[in-house]
């Protein structure tokens, strides 16, 4: 048995694409002499995953972070056998994802697409009984396991109601229960708290922490930095199909502990100010985020030295209809590490 729960070596996935899109990940396909009756070759290929190496220890929670289109979902889909890699190898629980796909599926519990991954015209209990049969759990064991999970997910009172009558949080709990049915050694959780209210999201996070204590290895993708920071033993940051950083959350934060983050809240923000702020020496990255529908913006400036940069920042944002509401100098968070490494915020 492999020492690692998940191990990927130089994993690559390319898809046929339209040439001339301007995307740097789209490259012309290699030209081959075409034989009669041979399959038509695509003119260009889009590289979604470009040589990913991962080694996930048994029993750890591994967070995979990346902006939209970075290659997280493609990587997860290759690991759970929905997609075949173009090249490279991956093993899950010691089984090869292409040649031993069924053994891989038996080793995994996967939450993809959350609430849409279950049947809304079945009850919570019927969903779990159905998926227990698909995972070849013996009927007596399945019956006990379904009841255990209904109890654990706190849906006992409504287990016999159709899923279409459930809240998003309840549906997500059923989707997670489905992944836990066979008590698989490895869990792949793709955005497990997406769209949940804060209370439901907190409950899911507590559950993930409990699952680790029970011996599950967990590969987690999330858009919420605090969640990754709080739950993960290690984090891999993926961008343009490559793992660009891999460390513990503390290790990642140490990479930019020489930097400071100047957090401004202001009204009347416009792009001209961003251009002026970027020109200030020592400012490395700027991210902006509009807070709600009002004209209130949060602007984060990554600076090598806030003391020298501050006077010029204040000078640039004064006037022009812009009003400074609040200003703080904060220690870098995991989100700031992410911005430092990828040049963009996770929600971009």
């Amino acid at each position: 048995m492999s020492n690692f729960a998940i191990e990927a070596k130089q994993l690559v996935k390319k898809f046929p694409a339209r040439a001339g899109t301007g995307d740097k990940n789209v490259t012309p396909a290699p030209r081959r002499k075409r034989r009669f009756f041979a399959r038509k070759e695509p003119k260009a290929m889009f590289t979604a995953v470009n040589g990913v190496d991962l080694q996930i220890e048994r029993g750890e929670i591994f967070g995979l972070l990346g902006p939209n289109g970075a290659g997280k979902s493609t990587t997860i889909r290759m690991l759970c056998t929905l997609l075949e890699p173009t090249s490279g190898t991956a093993q899950v629980n010691g089984f090869e994802v292409v040649k031993q796909a069924n053994d891989v599926r038996r080793s995994l519990g996967t939450v993809l697409a959350g609430e849409r991954s279950i049947y809304w015209k079945l009850t919570g209990r019927e969903n779990l009984e159905y998926f227990a049969a698909l995972y070849h759990i013996p009927p007596a064991v399945a019956k006990k396991r379904v009841e255990e999970l209904i109890e654990r997910m706190e849906i006992k009172d409504r287990a016999n109601e159709l899923v279409e009558k459930y809240s998003t949080g309840m549906r997500q709990r059923i989707a997670i229960a489905k992944a836990l049915l066979a008590r698989p050694p490895i869990l792949l959780l793709d955005e497990p708290t997406l769209g949940l209210d804060p209370q439901a999201a907190r409950r899911v996070r507590e559950l993930i922490a409990e699952l680790k204590q029970e011996g599950h290895t967990i590969l987690l993708t999330t858009h919420y930095m605090e969640e990754a920071d709080q739950l993960s033993d290690r984090i891999g940051i993926i961008d343009t199909g490559k793992v660009i950083a891999l460390d513990t959350p503390e290790g990642l934060k140490r990479r930019i502990d020489q930097q400071e983050v100047i957090r401004l809240e202001l009204t009347g923000w416009h792009e001209e100010i961003a251009d002026k702020l970027k020109s200030i020496a020592g400012i490395e990255h700027i991210t902006t985020h509009q807070q709600g529908e009002a004209d209130l913006w949060e602007v984060n400036l990554h600076a090598q030295n806030s003391r020298t940069a501050l006077p010029r920042i204040v000078e640039h944002i004064s006037g022009n209809g812009t009003r400074l509401v609040n200003m703080n100098i904060v220690k870098p968070s995991l989100e700031d590490v992410f911005i430092h490494l990828t040049g963009k915020a996770l929600r971009d």
């Binding site: 046929p16 075949e84 697409a113 991954s117 070849h136 396991r145 204590q213 011996g215």
Partner: protein, 291 residues
């Protein structure tokens, strides 16, 4: 990094031939439960058998004249005395094929749109079981449809089924592999093509014109008749008419049954091969997760 001393290495799943059958049964049960939870199927079950053939029956009666003099021509061409039964059976078989193309043909696509196809595909169950399992309740509902159709033909259209019930059931049994094999191939293609309405219209148009649902094949132009001979629906319609309307017995349909056995093997094999091709292709292209 903190690594726990307790780690799980094996799941509770215990695959065996029996667990595979249980998974297949679970797919059938799931499909049936979802089917009955949309109550509009009851309307289709009782209304369509009578509505659809009626327009053809009335057209035939209008063309045969008030005194029914034109009927003799039709009877001479078909060898069947009951023109209403002749048309009703032809249109019912057409409806059967049509429903299979829409329901079985779109079963995987509907799962894909709902978002549940991937969660099924993630399990270690034999993947063809999803298609096979979701077709079984459809077959059951279709047998109900055929039964209701027969009762309504007798009650409302005055059709007389003088033939053998057992030979009719035997013919239906021989018809199933061809009709569903085509449905399986169709379901697999729809996953890749995403939109297949045009193909449904094409296939059912071909069946309508070439297989003689309301007229004898003998009136087709010479070039069309060989094409009709290569379509299993031609034999299904002919055999069910003979078995249910005439008293000619097994000898009248034995040729049709032999042809249907061969067509059944052919179409089931095609359905299975196309499904496997689609499944491999989907793993390369990611088509399963694409809406």
């Amino acid at each position: 990094m903190t690594v726990q001393s307790i780690t799980l290495t094996r799941s509770l799943g215990r695959p065996s031939f029996l667990s595979g059958l249980r998974a297949l049964w679970a797919v059938m049960k799931r499909e049936w439960m979802i089917f009955v939870r949309y109550p509009s199927w009851v309307i289709s079950l009782f209304i369509w058998p009578i509505i659809f053939p009626l327009s053809y029956v009335l057209t035939a009666q209008a063309l045969s004249g008030r005194d029914g003099s034109g009927m003799a021509q039709f009877q001479a061409a078909t060898g069947v005395l009951d023109i209403t039964g002749y048309i009703a059976i032809g249109t019912t078989i057409w409806m059967w094929q049509n429903v299979v193309l829409w329901n079985v043909g779109f079963s995987l696509r509907n799962e894909q749109l709902r978002g549940t196809l991937e969660s099924n595909w993630l399990s270690p169950t034999w993947r063809f079981a999803y298609l096979l399992g979701s077709s079984a309740p459809q077959l059951l509902s279709m047998l109900m449809f055929l039964t209701v159709s027969a009762i309504e033909f007798v009650l409302f259209l005055g059709v007389r089924f003088d033939g053998s019930l057992w030979l009719t059931l035997l013919t239906i049994l021989f018809a199933v592999p061809s009709i569903y094999g085509l449905g399986f191939a169709f379901a697999s293609l729809v996953i890749t093509l995403k939109e297949a309405n045009a193909f449904v219209f094409l296939v059912r148009g071909i069946v309508m014109i070439f297989c003689g649902i309301t007229f004898p094949i003998s009136i087709l132009p010479d070039w069309m008749r060989p094409i009709a001979a290569w379509l299993p629906q031609t034999y299904i319609i002919h055999a069910i008419r003979s078995a249910s309307l005439s008293t000619d017995g097994l000898s009248a349909i034995s040729g049709d049954l032999k042809a249907l056995a061969l067509f059944g093997i052919f179409w089931l094999t095609i359905g299975y091969l196309v499904f496997n091709w689609m499944e491999r292709r989907a793993r390369r292209t990611g088509a399963i997760g694409q809406y």
